[in-house]
């Protein structure tokens, strides 16, 4: 695995609350990182893996708003994600729900906190809360299609051996 040194993503998966927390620092001020989340075209450029193209179908990211976007793979298969936007505080905070349309019950409540650091840098803390540990674990396992299957197969094998 390659390293860029200074600010690798940190993941916290607490065992006492069904939360996943992602902490990452950026060489840009909070205002800029915030903008890259709020601007639909900018967001589409980095949100998904490169082999997926993103189409924003609804983009009303403001307090009381909503969003929906579709990711399309090279074979034309579409994956839609959507949520309600609870709170948007410029350069500081976005609170929203997030769900995959194929599994709407697996909704998470996400808060994104943007904090300025010295030297024009910033820290982003993304916290996702779900309503069960099973949901959280499925969430951790999502978006890794091949890896997930392999992981399950490996785990199944291991458990079968036991």
């Amino acid at each position: 695995m390659s390293t860029t040194g200074t600010h690798e993503t940190e993941i916290v998966v607490p065992t006492d609350v069904p939360v996943v927390r992602i902490v990452r620092e950026f060489d840009a001020p909070a205002a800029k990182v915030f903008r890259a989340h709020l601007d639909p075209d900018l967001f589409a450029r980095w949100n998904g893996p490169r082999y997926l193209t993103q189409r924003n179908e609804l983009w009303d990211v403001r307090t009381g708003g909503a969003y929906r976007y579709v990711q399309v793979d090279p074979d034309g298969a579409e994956y839609a994600f959507y949520g309600s936007v609870h709170e948007v505080r410029p350069d500081e905070l976005i609170v929203q729900t997030f769900a995959y349309e194929g599994f709407p019950d697996g909704v998470s409540l996400d808060s994104l906190r943007f904090e300025d650091l010295p030297d024009g840098r910033c820290r982003l803390t993304a916290t996702s809360l779900v309503d069960s540990f099973e949901g959280r674990d499925a969430f951790v396992a999502s978006g890794m299609e091949v890896g997930v299957r392999e992981g399950y197969e490996q785990l199944d094998e291991l458990l079968a051996e036991g």
Partner: protein, 125 residues
Amino acid sequence: MTADPLSRVFSALADPTRRDMVARLASRDATVGELAQPYDMSVQAVSKHLRVLEDSGLVTRTTDARRAPVHLEAEVFDLMTKWIERYRREAEDRYRRLDDVLRDLPDPPGRPAGPVNDPTTGEAP
């Protein structure tokens, strides 16, 4: 509904007593009695926790006998941490794409040009 294997491992570890038991088993095998010792709970209660750990595949016992040593299946435990690492890498890849976007992005209007500008291009906001 049967929970999938990974969820069973995660939820087995959702309990602080079971986490502590797993941490102790990481250094060496122990009997139910030995495991029960530091806790203010009955051997039955400890056995119950142990059953959850066994069902998740995290620990094994050769027999149900109280003196049978409990063994941590390190491979299953490692697999869980690998899953978290994979998720972490996924998030890191995503944020590296964001790094690229930020590098090309002019500063927000009304903000002084500062050290946030790309030093290689000297791009002004």
